[in-house]
Amino acid sequence: MNAPEGRWTTQQRNRDERLARARAALGDALDGKIVAPTHIVELLHQVLEPGDRVCLEGNNQKQADFLGKALTRLDPTRINNLHMLLSVLSLPEHLDVFEKGIGARLDFSFSGPQAGRLAKLAQSGKLNIGAIHTYLELFARYFVDLTPRVALVAAEMADREGNLYTGPNTEDTPAIVEATAFKSGIVIAQVNRIVDKLPRVDIPSGWVEYVVQSPTPYYIEPLFTRDPALISEIQVLMAMMAIKGIYAEYEVERLNHGIGFDTAAIELLLPTYAASLGLKGKIARHWALNPHPALIPAIEAGFVESVHSFGSELGMENYIRARPDVFFTGPDGSMRSNRAFSQAAGHYACDMFIGSTLQIDLQGNSSTATLGRIAGFGGAPNMGADARGRRHPSAAWLKAGEQARAGRNMIPRGQKLVVQMVETFREHMAPAFVERLDAWQLAEQAGMAIPPVMIYGDDVTHILTEEGIANLLLCRGEEEREQAIRGVAGYTPVGLGRDKRMVENLRDRGIIRRPEDLGIDKRLATRDLLAAKNMKGLVRASGGLYDPPKRFRNW
């Protein structure tokens, strides 16, 4: 009863103070919610306070680059010690903030192109990494202990009220805005255009405080475009093994693919090789996947019934618009993506994840961390992990669970298929199989509590290389598991260190299967099996609807 007035409203009152400061400082440069681009730095000076948690929207694809650049122009004597939250750290500005002493602490998911510089800054002490997360994990923390005070997001268009259209590349925006707006934070959106009427409203104006029209459209990366011309015959062979030895074997209907050429080869073999095995309608029907251009031939062949996407892909807009039975689109016709929902879909509603990696150790732990680079995880760990909370059955999930539990006194349950697909040697003859992951050394250098492992060995069910498929579900004991991995590790030192007799025994028991054990004729492993052999082939398959970005137009 005697609580001081406002004890429970400090965040709201602080927010009101920030907005009042901005109103006073900006004057005519603020028209309702619309801020003049010339005054963006001034706005940030007024609404930010030292030590704030600031979420800067940088996704796999679209980037709030105008707002990110504005952050680097702040006066570090006024605004400093910011705690930056980024799902993807991909632009130089994202790190300039720390170099200039404006930011101090970082929590993130993926750093891709900036991984080397990030490692250097972390070592020099200019940047203190809280933790590396998966996307879903970072979003989750926005609602628990990392709620942003200010969020800087990107949208395609705004109307004069401040409603936002995020369109095909909605990506992370809903998760970020929801966490910020409903906890007395401030949302600032950069938009490509301000219009009178939006195609549809993706974020309502009540959740957005300021809108600024960026002088240039936001940066967007075509991250999921793979030119079929670069797919090798080894990748074709591995794709044949995947389709016959795993997709058909487990009747995998719902799945997620990684982004590499290995899985692009599988996508391009669905309408040819998989169709010839009579698998249409039986496998690969429902996807949690970005709109991969390499999936076009399979969609056109009627293999694919639905695709929900984390984000969009440049050039796929018109194709998606013309295929609303397959993709999730709004009443306006354009796609709506949502990274949080698609990650949840990939985790709980898919029976299989298959993707590539850089290093696999003898327990099957898989990591993309290499020395001197802090690359992060992105979404792979949520896709490539058994969903322990899953309860609904499916043929693939039940069969994997049965294999893992055969001969053991355990209550029946299913298991997700998690397949790591690698050539035994990467480029420059770097072995993909190692005794000890580089992740250990990286953890020591960067002072991490644990080595950054992308997919833990106990979640991996199959390892597929050009030499064969190792089914880890059927292994009993650590020794069998190690020999199964060595048995597909080819001529790497790990592979050469195999116990040949034990490997032959594993092969007799079907734990290791070679292409010939699967009835695969290697003579068919040629690029002729690809449903599209180059970018032009993809455009043709789409009936001219796919419009590849310039750098992929090589004809």
Binding site: E423, T424, M429, L496
Partner: protein
């Protein structure tokens, strides 16, 4: 450039048909010429490779190839431009499948 010679005695599978060339000479790739030859039941393989210092790996790849196929009276010439063991094995298997009409 490095040239390596391998000879495996007492093969059991003779080749049928004409000399065959598979693969292409390009970065990360190789070409394999395979032909019947009177070698007293042996299989001879000559490797000319652009990547120096991988003799032990070649030895392992060739030994496994011979264990899989056991070719007799066969001469194989390889022009390698830094192919991985995976590509080498695939090309050799393709060549052997073509001239034996079978699988390992």
């Amino acid at each position: 450039m490095e040239t390596l010679q391998f000879r495996f005695e007492q093969g059991s599978r003779p080749l049928a048909g004409m000399a065959q060339l598979v693969g292409v000479v390009g970065s990360g790739n190789l070409e394999v010429l395979i032909e019947p030859a009177s070698l007293g039941g042996a299989c001879e393989i000559e490797v000319r490779t652009a990547a120096v210092g991988f003799g032990a790996t070649w030895q392992a790849v060739m030994t496994d190839f011979h264990e899989r196929w056991g070719l007799a009276d066969a001469r194989i010439c390889i022009n390698d431009m830094g192919a991985t063991p995976a590509v080498v094995s695939l090309r050799l298997d393709q060549a052997a499948e073509t001239l034996t009409g079978g699988t390992p």
